[in-house]
């Protein structure tokens, strides 16, 4: 409960300080926030975009949170995301089964590849004591250049571009993709303006899978003996080892699951939105944003779900500042930075929280 309040207060302060930055750059903060709210919720397709934008953030956030519960700081979500995305593109392009087989196969194998990639950092920690922050940072760059290398392999590369071939239609999880552009579909949508707008973006099944994962991770952590041991390892390795828990194995397993979640984010992004991967000049940030999502959601699966949507909304509506007000869209990054800054020092809120609880007590009497 306290974590939730801290997150809310931090968000409030983030918006306040973001407004100050806007004011300094000569823009009325109220105008800016109006633009952002309208740009986020005034049309069905905006909401659709926000959901699409939030899906990978929820999954990478979940990935960071899960590792954190085992006492590991997985900064490698970015690299695991890339590995998942690349594997999904490769398999989606080379395989062409019936969609009912194709989609699960591509998805599961992509998760598997990225779980090995994440698990590698866990194994290095368990076996050789290499700190996971260091190894995952290195592995992020390794993934980036590995991906760029694969993109340029002849046969996989789309001729004369810096991208790969597209995945087969059978691997796509974009909803109603063909129907939308078919005659009957267009006719139906013509009469249903809400859905016409909502389905304009590449709305896909990713969000449903993400929701299932939120539930699954919550279930593992709270209800299973496996989660019990993972959390025990995270709280105290010494006590866990003494209690007969194989902490090295648990750390590796936690990193594998964490890696799989980030890889799933990458795979779903390819299968639902981008349909291929391109040469990367720098990290896209889906993985790094996962760290912010996990922090704001105080590493709880449901918290991650909410903060994933929040960050997705902020990122999507923030883009509109530039076009509408010529405001720097970096304001959004500043806001997120401020929010995380305050979440990282929760004791800042002890004073207002104390007042809050006193008011509560007095109103009860």
């Amino acid at each position: 409960m306290k974590n939730f309040l801290v997150s809310l207060l931090s968000i409030f302060l983030g918006l306040l300080l973001g407004g100050l930055v806007l004011k300094l750059s000569g823009i009325n903060p109220l105008d800016a926030y109006t633009v952002m709210i309208e740009g986020a919720f005034s049309q069905p397709n905006y909401i659709s975009y926000i959901i699409i934008r939030s899906t990978p953030l929820i999954l990478t956030g979940l990935s960071v949170a899960f590792a954190f519960k085992t006492g590991l700081f997985n900064i490698g979500t970015e690299g695991q995301f890339i590995v998942g995305a690349l594997t999904a593109t490769f398999l989606g392009f080379y395989f062409n089964f019936n969609p009912w087989l194709q989609i699960p196969v591509v998805m599961i194998l992509s998760c598997f590849a990225s779980s090995l990639y994440g698990g590698l950092a866990g194994y290095l920690k368990a076996r050789f004591g290499v700190h996971e922050v260091l190894s995952t940072i290195m592995l992020n760059w390794l993934a980036l250049y590995l991906s760029n290398f694969f993109v340029f392999i002849e046969g996989f590369r789309r001729p004369d571009t810096e991208t790969t071939e597209f995945i087969n239609q059978s691997a796509s999880i974009t909803l109603l993709e063909n129907w939308k552009v078919s005659e009957s579909g267009m006719a139906w949508l013509e009469n249903h303006t809400f859905w016409k707008s909502f389905l304009r973006p590449p709305f896909n099944a990713g969000i449903f899978i993400a929701l299932i994962m939120v539930f699954l991770i919550w279930f593992i952590l709270e209800k299973t003996t496996f989660g019990f041991k993972l959390k025990a390892t995270g709280f105290s390795q010494l006590a866990s080892r003494y209690a007969g828990i194989n902490t090295n194995l648990k750390m590796t397993q936690a990193m594998m699951i964490s890696g799989a979640l980030s890889g799933l984010a990458g795979a779903l992004h390819v299968m639902g939105v981008s349909k291929n991967v391109a040469v990367l000049a720098a990290h896209e940030g889906y993985g790094f944003d996962g760290i912010a999502v996990a922090l704001i959601g105080s590493n709880h699966p449901v918290g991650v779900l909410l903060s994933g949507f929040f960050l997705g909304t902020l990122k999507y509506s923030g883009q509109k500042l530039q076009s509408a007000l010529e405001a720097p869209s970096e304001v959004i990054s500043i806001m997120i930075g401020v929010i995380i800054f305050f979440i990282a020092i929760p004791s800042i809120f002890n004073w207002p929280l104390k007042i809050l609880s006193r008011i509560k007590k007095e109103s009860k009497q």
Binding site: S236, A243, I245
Partner: protein, 509 residues
């Protein structure tokens, strides 16, 4: 003449009352003990005197008959009050000299540290009170006992007249404790006043002139130590009659071997031999004590027995079954239980609730889980049962281990290990830092376990504990077994303590 007087002092933290209406008079030049159980409010009271926090309005503090109001520790120090905390506050990579002058460094030309005059002053202090520390050693290379001397020097350097010592002997070895008593006596002789916080009764008898007892934050009484028996002090501290010495029936010697340790060799974390050709047999229905000074291989021995560390050679058998170098879980399933030395870091997951800690090793078993899913109802039932049987307080199974008192934390571990019905229970420093009431309880449970025909391996740095519980006493020194005293030898030996002390220091039987 009174140096310090507290009148009707009260301190609350929110709705929690740390202490209430405390009256305390400390006379100049005396050693005054503040006696109370863990959580009675002793440390909080001392922190008030040292200016770490202000008391609630109402009472007053008088120093040299003058009313004072302390706003900070700096003021307390300026008024001649010094305090040595239970956990030392030293900069480990700094030298002794640097630590002593830290914060009030004498200056040369306004910006250079004048080490020479500092050194002279400290050396004259050491000569006056007749104890010595090498001023150029780094703190991290010193023993705990020496670090404590540095802390005492630190407050003497600040011209303290009133020295407050918070549980000073909790971390010392028997020899260091003896040296510490000598230092206290010297300080007293030179006119310093000492206020010492403790819950060890024999320590009070040894060094204190008067003693004030606090129970649950309330002032009970101040009495002259030489007129009071240990029994009387204990009863007043706990608020009921307590047994200071464990009562146990004599057992008839059995020769049924439960745990056999044969030629065991174990390395420490620096890859040096810590346990050398160690042989010992634990017998059914016996408490075998292992006496020894801290750091003579006890930790490594326990780690090897419980599977936390691989042994280099040798064997360990439970009831003829080899358990050498199995995993901790396998050894546990072979019915070897342990109460670890460090209950907070090793024995418990502090952020887990009582009920979760009670099933730390057995969560995978029926009835606690099925197909990997935890059955919460069963966990609750189990926890409620053990909480009642072992009188764990508070009784809510959802309370985190972190929020329990030391005694109750230990009860959770004890409950878990005894419920598992072990053939052998290793009790490593089972009562460290606990108060009299909790010690009494833990000891009685260990004896019960023995009487039910189990083997108990009691490893303790407290010789008194070994003596009052053990049927057989083994002694360890530098990783070697230096002596093994049978039941007869124990009861026939009039100078048992001295004999054991001799073996503990490396004498060979």
């Amino acid at each position: 003449m009174a140096i310090l007087e507290l009148k009707n002092l009260t301190k609350s933290f929110g709705s929690l009352r740390a202490y209430h209406n405390i009256n305390l008079t400390v006379m100049k030049g005396e050693v005054h003990a503040l006696l109370g159980e863990n959580g009675a409010g002793k440390s909080t009271l001392m922190k008030t005197i040292y200016g770490e926090h202000a008391p609630d309005s109402g009472g007053e503090i008088l120093l040299h008959q003058k009313k004072i109001k302390l706003e900070s520790t700096a003021e307390a120090i300026a008024l001649g009050i010094g305090m040595v905390h239970q956990h030392f506050r030293l900069v480990r990579p700094f030298s002794v000299l640097q630590n002593i002058i830290l914060g009030i460094e004498p200056k040369k030309w306004g910006f250079l540290i004048d080490y020479k005059s500092a050194r002279n002053k400290i050396e004259s202090i050491m000569a006056e009170f007749n104890f010595f520390v090498d001023l150029d050693s780094k703190i991290e290379t010193l023993t705990v006992g020496t670090q404590q001397r540095v802390e005492i020097l630190k407050i003497l350097y600040r011209n303290a007249e009133l020295l407050i010592l918070d549980e000073p002997t909790a971390v010392l070895t028997p020899q260091e404790i003896k040296d510490f008593y000598i230092i206290i006596k010297n300080l007293k002789q030179k006119g310093k006043t000492i206020l010492i916080i403790t819950h060890k009764l024999h320590e009070i008898k040894e060094i204190a002139d008067r003693c004030t007892i606090i129970r649950k934050g309330e002032f009970i009484e101040t009495l002259t130590v030489k007129d009071a028996s240990e029994q009387e002090l204990a009863s007043k501290m706990v608020g009921r009659e307590v047994l200071l010495h464990a009562v146990k029936k004599e057992v008839s010697p059995t020769d049924i071997c439960v745990l056999e340790i044969k030629n065991l060799n174990v390395l420490n974390s620096k890859k040096l031999p810590a346990i050398k050709d160690f042989n010992l047999i634990l017998k059914k229905g016996f408490i075998t004590g292992l006496a020894g000074i801290d750091g003579n291989g006890q930790s490594e021995l326990v780690q090897a027995l419980t599977g936390l560390k691989k042994s280099e050679s040798g064997s360990v058998k439970i009831n003829e079954k080899a358990i050498t170098n199995l995993t901790p879980l396998e050894i546990y399933q072979n019915k070897l239980g342990m109460i670890p030395e460090d209950r907070q870091r090793v024995g418990l997951v502090m952020d887990y609730s009582i009920k979760e800690n009670l099933v730390l090793q057995t969560i995978d078993q029926i009835p606690f889980s099925k197909y990997g899913v935890i059955l919460n109802n069963e966990l609750n039932k189990f926890a409620v049962k053990l909480i009642e049987r072992f009188d764990i307080r508070p009784t809510d199974p959802e309370i985190k281990a972190r929020n329990l008192s030391g005694g109750n934390q230990q009860k959770v571990i004890l409950a878990r290990e005894i419920e598992h019905n072990p053939e052998v229970l290793i009790a490593f420093q089972p009562t460290r830092g606990l108060d009299v009431g909790a010690i009494e309880y833990i000891h009685s449970e260990l004896i019960k376990l023995r009487d039910s025909g189990k083997a108990v391996f009691l490893i303790s740095y407290e010789l008194d504990e070994i003596l009052s519980l053990s049927d057989e006493i083994a002694v360890i020194c530098e990783g070697k077994l230096t002596a093994l005293l049978s039941q007869q030898e124990i009861s026939n030996n009039k100078n048992l303590k001295e004999t054991l002390g001799f073996y503990m220091a490396g004498g060979i039987k």
